[in-house]
């Protein structure tokens, strides 16, 4: 469990805090999406999860280990894997396998265990056979998969990601999301910053941040369907939700708390059937004339 108590954070001498008195609890096996406009403190918040930053006041506990205690550092970083926005700048090794071996090597594991973990992690992300390739010859998507493999090789409990899919092509993006879903099913906690509301819709829980505070915390369907409110924050709601919302505003009888394609399809089909039926019952001749 990631527990945050009264977390306040200030960068250096800057008087105004970036994070203001946050309280938060994220369970193992939970998929949380954090959304919010640029500069709202999302990145600063998740950097507290693996002790890259330490609170100015308050406390961050990872499975009851405080990030303030330097003795907990290695264990916290093993438990909480982090993926950054730019895939190129998180590669350390001279070859793909050496890069994946970096984390386990930091944990001091023996060579044969490292080999086992490296091969397993690479096959999980679909990069088997790339072992001896030089990382800079990989595409952006493959680099992000490599970063994910490097993190899986440490057997983490939580995966924290800062806009991991912003530089991926649609197919790789799908693959990464499917892999995350699979990891979630295996009981890993996933925390993800995203600007893509369709991705946020896949989470179990959405946190909305603004000006260093968590202003809303709830189910994606409840939050993302508040179209005008989401827009007022400078964010874009899922297109399909916006469409239903516009239909609703034009007087059609549709629900607007729908964030996925399937739900929307169902709702639109229902609407169509409703429109057809009165026509057939009421004035059949006119309907025939149109068809």
């Amino acid at each position: 469990m990631i527990q945050i108590h009264n977390l306040t954070f200030t960068y250096g001498p800057d008087p105004s805090p970036v994070l203001k008195d946050l309280n938060l609890c994220i369970d193992k096996g939970e998929h949380v999406a954090i959304i919010g406009p640029n500069g709202c403190g999302k990145t600063t918040l998740i950097r507290h999860f693996n002790a890259l930053l330490r609170p100015s006041s308050g406390e961050v506990l990872i499975d009851h280990l405080s990030t303030r205690d330097p003795r907990n550092l290695l264990e916290i970083r093993r438990r909480v894997g982090m993926i950054f926005q730019n895939p190129t700048n998180q590669i350390v090794g001279m070859s793909v396998e050496e890069d994946v071996a970096f984390g386990p090597g930091n944990l001091g594991l023996p060579a044969d265990e490292i080999r086992h973990r490296v091969d397993e992690a690479l096959s999980k992300v679909g990069l088997s056979g790339f072992q001896t390739r030089s990382p800079h010859t990989l595409s952006g998507g493959q680099k992000q998969l490599l970063a994910l493999a490097g993190l899986l090789a440490m057997a983490p409990q939580y995966i924290v990601m800062d806009e991991p899919t912003s530089s991926l092509d649609p197919v790789t993006n799908e693959n990464v999301l499917a892999l995350l879903q699979e990891l979630k099913c295996q009981g890993l906690g996933i925390v993800q910053i995203t600007h893509n509301m369709d991705e946020a819709a896949l989470a179990d829980r959405v946190l909305v941040m603004n000006h260093g505070e968590i202003i809303t915390d709830g189910k994606p369907a409840d939050i993302l369907s508040r179209v005008d409110w989401i827009k007022s924050l400078g964010l874009a709601p899922p297109r399909i939700t916006e469409l239903l919302w516009l239909l609703h505003h034009n007087g059609e009888d549709v629900r607007t708390n729908i964030i996925g394609l399937e739900g929307a399809l169902e709702e639109i089909m229902r609407l169509l059937i409703q429109l057809r039926n009165p026509n057939q019952l009421g004035v059949p001749g006119k309907a025939d004339g149109h068809v």
């Binding site: 590669i91 001279m94 090597g105 930091n106 060579a111 030089s134 800079h136």
Partner: protein, 261 residues
């Protein structure tokens, strides 16, 4: 495998040697080269050629690695033949310039020595990947921990530097392109404009690289990097052949190949 450096990926007994053995061999050979005279050098040439053959490196490829250093050694050779006092050679009376017999001898010997040093180092880099070199150095430097130097940190520094090379090239390319896109003239011909393009490159390059460093440091910390002890994907183990080669090398250094200085 690696797209930078000189490494030629192929199978050979030399490729399969433990990198530590190869490092020790290059060091031993260097010591021998610096000790021996012209006849000893001929013997070393044989050893180097045998080494190249054993490593399945064509002699031509080996000679090619000497090309970048040739201008430098050429100048060195000229300095030796013109500025060494001694008996003048009768065959070269080019005006007032005299070439001494000793000068020619010294020049040939010294330049020969340097070329052999480069050639033996080339056999090493042609048959060893950068990561193997790093690994070998790390193991050889382990005893330094007594004086407070961590071989792990040294190895990390080397491998990060090597990892950064292609990044640096990409970065230069993208800055160049950005400048070209805004109408910069990079095909300068005069010296001052050449210097200016370098200055225009150096500024953005260093800020970009520093920013990248910041991010890499974060990524390394996030993956649990701490200074000092760590483990690796591959552990090195000396075979009997490796041990034998090291023994022969040590003996060869202690008792110079030939008695003639």
């Amino acid at each position: 495998m690696y797209n930078f450096g000189q490494y030629i990926p192929q199978k050979s007994p030399v490729h399969d040697l433990d990198p530590r053995v190869k490092i020790i061999a290059v060091l031993a050979l260097s010591l021998i080269i610096l000790q021996v005279g012209i006849i000893g050098l001929l013997e070393v040439v044989t050893v180097v050629l045998l080494g190249a053959r054993w490593a399945r490196i064509p002699v031509l490829a080996l000679l090619k690695t000497l090309r970048p250093v040739l201008p430098f050694f050429g100048c060195l050779f000229l300095l030796y033949i013109f500025f060494t006092p001694g008996r003048p050679l009768p065959l070269f009376p080019i005006g007032p310039v005299q070439i001494s017999y000793e000068g020619l001898y010294m020049g040939l010997q010294q330049v020969g020595k340097f070329l052999l040093l480069v050639a033996s180092a080339s056999i090493f880099t042609l048959t060893t990947t950068p990561s193997e070199i790093t690994m070998g150095l790390e193991r050889l430097l382990r005893p330094l921990r007594i004086v407070g130097v961590s071989s792990h940190d040294v190895a990390m520094m080397i491998s990060l530097a090597l990892r950064f090379l292609p990044t640096l090239v990409d970065e230069i390319k993208s800055i160049r392109e950005a400048q070209l896109a805004r109408g910069a003239n990079l095909n300068a011909h005069t010296l001052t404009s050449k210097v200016r393009t370098i200055i225009y490159l150096a500024g953005p390059l260093s800020t970009n690289i520093l920013r990248r460093c910041d991010e890499i440091v974060d990524a390394m910390e996030a993956r649990g990097y701490q200074q000092g002890s760590r483990t690796y994907l591959r552990e090195l183990a000396l075979t009997r052949v490796d041990g034998l080669i090291i023994m022969v090398l040590v003996i060869a250094v202690l008792f110079p190949l030939v008695g003639i200085p």
